[in-house]
């Protein structure tokens, strides 16, 4: 049974890779058409890198606050955090970007596309991170709380020295996945004309009609950003591996 499954998976994936590679490789590309736009691509990629990096930091901060809210002993912060998380997770990012920029940001006279995009993207990612963080914290066994209490730790000390260090390891893989999503999700910011990587590809396509040539660099560009996160996460997981 195991051999059968291994064979099936290998054949299916192998065939898919070969087919896609063959299709992509056998196309006749007009790279010369997009060559003059290389600077735009580079600028777009840099913008994506900047906005993703900033959103990553901001989303961790907001996510941690939302987690604290959800774990609060008081009802009001608990409900509000819960509502925030549910609304954000239950609605499309595209809608959030449109409403966030054209309705909310506009109403307070804020028209920095980069700034608004950054905040919306951070809030979106934070809602997912908050759930990941909460799950991580709640997965730490009660015995650890009891032990910390018996030692005489205050609640803050218990979180700092006992719960969070252990929870970090447990939330790393899921958080890394969320960070990779965040980078890819930033591509939706083209709807409010943030000049990020995807936006540049769309513009190049519009100017040159070289569709594949304009969009293919996206694969490489995004992968260069997301792959290191995956590597780093595995590395950190190993570093934090203390169980067993």
């Amino acid at each position: 049974m195991k051999l059968f499954l291994s064979l099936t998976v290998s054949i299916l994936l192998g065939a898919t890779f070969c087919f896609v590679f063959w299709v992509v490789a056998s196309h006749e590309y007009q790279w010369a058409a997009i060559a003059p736009y290389w600077k735009n691509f580079l600028n777009g990629w840099t913008t994506t890198l900047l906005i993703s990096a900033a959103a990553l930091v901001l989303s961790i901060v907001i996510g941690a606050l939302l987690t604290a809210g959800q774990l609060s002993p008081h009802r009001v912060p608990r409900w509000l955090s819960r509502a925030f998380v549910e609304i954000i997770r239950g609605t499309p990012l595209l809608t959030q970007i449109l409403i966030g920029y054209y309705l909310i940001a506009d109403s307070i006279g804020w028209d920095s596309r980069f700034g608004v995009g950054l905040v919306i993207l951070s809030c979106f990612s934070a809602a997912y991170l908050a759930e990941i963080f909460r799950g991580g914290i709640e997965s730490i066994p009660q015995s650890q709380w009891l032990s910390a209490k018996a030692i005489g730790f205050s609640e803050v000390q218990t979180y700092c020295y006992v719960i969070i260090p252990q929870a970090i390891r447990r939330v790393l893989p899921a958080s890394a996945g969320q960070f990779a999503n965040l980078i890819k999700d930033s591509s939706l910011l083209f709807v409010i004309s943030v000049h990020e990587f995807t936006m540049q590809a769309r513009e190049t396509n519009a100017n040159t009609y070289a569709t594949f040539e304009a969009y293919l660099p996206l694969i490489l560009g995004y992968f260069i950003l997301t792959f290191p996160i995956s590597l780093l996460s595995r590395n950190l997981e190993k570093r934090f591996a203390y169980e067993n």
């Binding site: 015995s143 650890q144 009891l146 209490k149 030692i151 005489g152 205050s154 006992v162 203390y242 067993n244």
Partner: protein
Amino acid sequence: MRIETQHLSKVYGVTKAVDDVSLTLSDDVQVLALIGPSGGGKSTFLRLLGGLEIPTSGEVTMDGVKLPLKEESLRDIRRKNGFLFQSFNLFPHLTALENIVLPLVKVYGRSQEEATKRAAEVVERFRLTDHVGKRPGQLSGGQQQRIALARAMAHEPSLLLLDEPTSALDPEMKSEVLDLISELCECGQRIVLSTHEMGFAKRSADHILFLSEGKCVEEAPSSQLFDDPKTEQVSQFLHKVMKW
């Protein structure tokens, strides 16, 4: 130590874990053992004595000092005590040495060097020097429990509370840990322990409390309770557990 409880009760939901226990133990008790059937209230009673739980009603007086009913003030009481639980509640992300050093630094305000020196002394006394660099996951159950005991003893607690310290261990490891505890008893350490090890209780404790269904069924000096139990329930219990 002088232990007094007055109408002491602890209720979890609808379960009366400790049910209206009033007793006064004389000054000359150094080692008190709580025995009785599982679920009879031993652990809860022990935790109430150590200030780890707040009573639902009634009060505990230790050496003439009434235990406070507020979490913050109770924390100060806890810090004077040392606890050891059934499932070795070491912090898995820290090494054995760090497990001992961390509370000394963060709870008792000792400097890192001072704490490390003190931890080294305790592990040497407990013959654990070879294991200080290991994480709990790399230690056997008995070693983990001895490290946990070293942690509980590092700040020289006025009272050591042991909650079924050997219940999760195999016989060989059990004797490792019991040896150590009996050494502490001989050195004059004041101890309250809940246990199923009747032989150990008989030999090391000078006073026994038999708890069942949250009530104190019988309390007497060790030799008296084991050799000549006053109640039928205790007599039957002892007959059953000492049979094999």
